[in-house]
Symmetry: C3
Subunit: 306 residues, 3 copies
């Protein structure tokens, strides 16, 4: 590299996912769409000596089908933070970042990895009317301080939103913990928020076990949303290596106040062209969602990370 690269610590990263298919969730007819959250990011670390590091992270989301921004006004939807970390002492991040509860439990329980038409449904757990980051079951918390650390196989994260939400509201908070050792992964998360209108709480668990011929996934979530409606989320699934690819299946249900509003069965195959690139085929059927809003359909697509 020449001296022109004055800042060699910046990494440009991301991925694009595009699938062609039908999904009655959005609109009838064949569409080109992205469900993985195509992204472009910039990140970097600086070694401060003595095991200390400074880091930053900016992740933009976009829609490759029409070139629009994926997060509306939240251009850096995927995260925007600056932080410090130390070997042993863990890391602190200030800004917008993933809910630690979600990362350690719900995200880990989806064999589709929050991508393709087959992915589990998470963003429906519910937010209070004054919500502005920190929503239960949502993915990111604004204005947050995150602390993450690992002790051998145990990984822990806590997140606190510095700003209270809504008039009379409280500071959203969440915790996540995981245990990963060889083939076994266990994760748990707890989130609490109150925007002044009501208490929201969400507890979630995840477990995966890799038998080699098949990896099993299970996840369960339970809580109450801002309307004081009880919510439950269940997912079971698997991935199994077949040839140069992987068969993936999942069964995902959601309950609201005892009524099943989602019953999603997804089956897919990913063919890995490389670690960074795969093509996939997915079918999904949601037999409980209201007409016009379910996720049933099929798609063929390509995923390429960089």
């Amino acid at each position: 590299c020449t001296g022109a690269w004055a800042e060699p610590s910046v990494t440009v990263f991301g991925f694009l996912e595009a699938q062609v298919g039908r999904q009655t969730q959005n609109a009838p007819g064949t569409q080109l769409y992205d469900m993985g959250g195509s992204r472009l990011g910039f990140k970097g670390d600086e070694d401060l000596g003595g095991g200390l590091k400074a880091s930053f992270y900016l992740e933009h989301r976009l829609n490759p089908d029409d070139g629009t921004v994926g997060g509306g006004a939240t251009f850096w939807k995927g995260g925007s933070w600056v932080g410090l970390s130390s070997e042993g002492m863990g890391s602190v991040k200030l800004g917008r970042w993933w809910s630690q509860a979600f990362l350690k439990s719900q995200y880990a329980s989806d064999p589709f990895g929050m991508g393709t038409l087959g992915e589990g449904s998470y963003p429906t757990v519910g937010c209070g009317p004054a919500f502005s980051g920190g929503c239960l079951g949502a993915f990111w918390v604004n204005n947050s301080v995150s602390y993450e650390n690992s002790f051998g196989p145990v990984s822990f994260g806590a997140q606190y939103s510095v700003e209270a939400v809504g008039t009379g509201g409280k500071h959203p908070v969440n915790f996540g913990v995981s245990y990963g050792d060889g083939p076994l992964y266990l994760g748990a998360g707890y989130e609490a928020s109150n925007d002044g209108s009501s208490d929201e709480r969400w507890t979630s668990l995840a477990a995966t076990y890799d038998f080699g011929a098949v990896k099993l996934y299970g996840g369960y979530g339970s809580g109450q949303d801002a309307a004081q409606v009880k919510r439950k989320n269940l997912i079971v699934g698997f991935t199994a290596p077949v040839g140069a690819g992987q068969v993936i299946g999942s069964y995902n249900t959601q309950d609201q106040g005892g009524v099943k509003v989602e019953q999603l069965l997804s089956l897919g195959y990913k063919y890995f062209l490389s670690k960074r690139t795969n093509v996939f085929a997915v079918v999904a059927s949601d037999s409980k969602a209201p007409t016009g809003t379910n996720k049933s359909g099929y798609a063929l697509g390509v995923f390429h990370s960089f």
Copy 2:
């Protein structure tokens, strides 16, 4: 490079064009403006072995005069796609990308290369009221699958929009083919769209020949817009190396329903400071455009690509 560059396959590219001049097209008075479509892009390839490649492309457009986004909500106006390509088998791109018809014919026929005040006028061919990508004479098609390949001097592209446009509309489609051998270039394009209100069609041809002392350009387009009005577009031009630069001239007319709505004569000089950078002077006169909307004027500018 250090290991900090974890993703060395990402290239940051683009160019900025800025000209100072007067154009009665937009507003009276001297202005600073960009007509080349200043841009910042990110792209990359991954070699998958066996002649196969995965690629992505993201191109943002911006206005350097005031730092605003060039494409409004379409932040990645210049293209956003992920694709696969193979030596011999060609490439497939999914997302937002150039109309193949436009690329192979109209774009090739403009000696100003769609930049500076002297550029030909293309975006006026007309779109149906329900248009959302796939407009005739427009540059990009949303939700598209593009196939491109080359056989010796012949290059071919076909593009299909996966989503139909408008109620009762059809899928926009376009084709482009070119032949380039030594000094000769021939290109042709065909586009068809129907947004449910009417059929739109556009056929275009381009030819250039480089005699060395001068390169001649010619282009012709004919079709009907969404209002069923017949449209025609004609351009002839030249570039001629003079000193370390190039004299450029073009004559461009547009007809709508038999009425000439543009008669643009442009003359310019580009002085190449390097392959990547030039300064230019351009004068243009449009004697048929309605008062206040024509493109007449003059400008001095700089172009720098990276």
Copy 3:
């Protein structure tokens, strides 16, 4: 570097600042906020030979607390230009860029460097109703041509907005000059604008002297805004190395029509983890601002540049 880096002249740069604290300026309660103007930029130079260079610059501003864009529609708020420069002859920039008057004087007089809660208040000098870049005391001028050069210790900049502002308005213009030799820095700036409603003028001076144990800062500005109200701005401050860090203090007042509308006393400490990274603590008290709008408060934060 591999050939994949086809454009090695692009540098990705920027910084993120995040502070946790209270400021009654914006809203009561603890907040996570950024006052330094967190940014991500892209810039590059091309050596054209003979001492000539082509350059471009794009600087985006963002809010790390919630991932939103810092400049609204002006995505490239921090600057967007293309230019040429020559050893000896200076540089010319076309686009959006810093007011040379501001850079050379007001910016130089703030010991907090326009960052953290302790920073001086500049953006309040006033703009005419038809303002669109070129505001007095604002930071950037749109549609501008900037000329910058240095002669030994003397640095000079002039900026002219190519577009007049408002009906009957004039072209915003500003000048800045500085002298920097060893411990001494002197700067002066003059700005003039007229948007058709009234004349605006602003003159500013800055001086700093580095005694080693302490560096002193002083700045003074005087002019009249678009409403023909007389304005004055005064700042005195210091930085002093203490341990691996720096104590910073400033006293900043603003007068409008003879009434003191700001009287800000700021004290802070920056601990430098590296040249690129620091953590800081700041307290500030504004005893004259109208209730609910003052800048009083305290904050702890981190700054990381890349």
